[in-house]
C-alpha cells in the first residue's frame, strides 16, 4: 500500500458528499425554531409631533440663544423708555436760559453751617 493508494482511498471517501438524513434535518430545524427569538416587531412609525412654540420661534430667529438675546434687548428698551431720568427737566431749563441759577450741590449749605 503506497501513499498514492492511500490518497486514492481518501478521494473515494470524499465523494459523494454525505447528506444528512431528512429526519435529522427536520429535528435540527425544529430545534432552531424552538430556540429562535420571536422576530422583533417592526418599529412603528412615530407620528411627527408638532414643534413647540419656543422651538418654532427659535428656529425662525436662528436658535434659542439668539431668541433670548432678542428678548433681553426688547425688555431693556422698554425700561429705558418708561423710566424718565429725574433731573432732565432742570438741565433743559438751564440750557435754554429760563433758569437764573442752578444749584449744582444742593446739600452743601447744611454741611457748611457751623452753628451747633
Amino acid at each position: 500500500m503506497t501513499e498514492d493508494d492511500l490518497e486514492s482511498l481518501f478521494a473515494t471517501a470524499r465523494t459523494p458528499a454525505v447528506q444528512a438524513p431528512a429526519a435529522l434535518t427536520a429535528r435540527v430545524l425544529a430545534d432552531a425554531d424552538a430556540r429562535m427569538r420571536p422576530a422583533a416587531p417592526a418599529p412603528q412609525q412615530a407620528s411627527p409631533s408638532r414643534p413647540g412654540l419656543w422651538a418654532s420661534l427659535g428656529a425662525v430667529f436662528g436658535g434659542g440663544g439668539a431668541l433670548a438675546g432678542m428678548v433681553t434687548a426688547t425688555l431693556a428698551g422698554f425700561w429705558i423708555g418708561f423710566a424718565q431720568p429725574g433731573d432732565l427737566g432742570a438741565m433743559s431749563a438751564v440750557l435754554s436760559g429760563s433758569a437764573a441759577e442752578i444749584d449744582m450741590m444742593p446739600g452743601i449749605d447744611a454741611l457748611l453751617d457751623e452753628t451747633p
Binding site: 500500500m1 471517501a13 470524499r14 435529522l24
Partner: protein, 196 residues
C-alpha cells in the same frame, strides 16, 4: 419581496451574517445554515464514531449549540465551520470515552450513504474501498483519526486542524503522519482486493 428572492439574497450572506439574522428571529437563515453545515458535520461525526445513530445525535447536539450561541456570536473572531468541527470533535470524544466502545465492532454502521439503485460493479468496489478505509481508521488512536479525517477527507489545512483540535501545527503534522503510516500498515494486505 418575494420569498424566492429573499432566500436567494440570504444564500449569498456569510455565516456570521446568517447567525445574526437567526438571532433576531429569521427562520430562513436557520434553514440556510443547516443546509450549509449539517451534512458535513454529520458525515464527520460518522467517520469518527463509525455509528450512524450516534453521529446523528452528535450532529444534532452540535447544531443545537450553534443555535444557542447565535445571540452571543462575535463576528470575525472564529470561522463557524471550524467552531462546529471543534464542538463535534469534543462531543465524539466524550461519547467514545463514556461508552468504552469497541469501534471495530460497529463497522457495519459507518455513515456511507446507501444508494440502492446504484448496485453496479463500480459502486460495489467504491463501497468496499470506503468500508476498508473506515475499518482502518477505526484502529487509529482518537487524535490521529481526527487529524487524518480532517486533513484528508474534510480537506482542512493544518492551521485549521490545529484550531479545531486546539493543538499546535507541528502536533497536527505529527498526528497526520503517524496516522497515515498506521493506515498504510493496516491496509497493506488489501491492495489487490481493493483494485489498487
Amino acid at each position: 419581496m418575494p420569498r424566492d428572492t429573499a432566500t436567494s439574497d440570504l444564500q449569498s450572506l456569510s455565516d456570521d451574517a446568517l447567525l445574526l439574522l437567526y438571532a433576531h428571529g429569521d427562520a430562513e437563515a436557520a434553514r440556510i445554515l443547516t443546509g450549509r453545515h449539517l451534512g458535513r458535520i454529520y458525515g464527520f461525526a460518522a467517520r469518527l464514531l463509525a455509528d450512524r445513530a450516534e453521529a446523528e445525535d452528535v450532529a444534532q447536539e452540535a447544531m443545537l449549540r450553534m443555535w444557542r450561541v447565535a445571540p452571543k456570536w462575535r463576528a470575525g473572531e472564529a470561522q463557524l465551520s471550524t467552531w462546529l468541527y471543534r464542538v463535534t470533535v469534543n462531543l465524539c470524544t466524550d461519547r467514545q470515552r463514556s461508552a468504552h466502545r469497541h469501534r471495530a465492532e460497529a463497522l457495519e454502521d459507518v455513515a456511507e450513504p446507501v444508494d440502492e439503485s446504484a448496485n453496479t460493479e463500480a459502486e460495489l468496489m467504491r463501497r468496499e474501498r470506503v468500508d476498508a478505509l473506515q475499518a482502518a481508521l477505526a484502529t487509529l488512536p482518537d487524535r490521529q483519526r481526527q487529524a487524518v479525517v480532517l486533513r484528508h477527507i474534510e480537506g482542512l489545512s493544518n492551521p485549521e486542524i490545529a484550531a479545531v483540535l486546539e493543538v499546535g501545527v507541528e502536533a497536527v503534522e505529527s498526528l497526520t503522519a503517524r496516522g497515515k503510516r498506521a493506515l498504510t500498515v493496516a491496509l497493506a494486505g488489501q491492495k489487490a482486493a481493493l483494485g489498487l
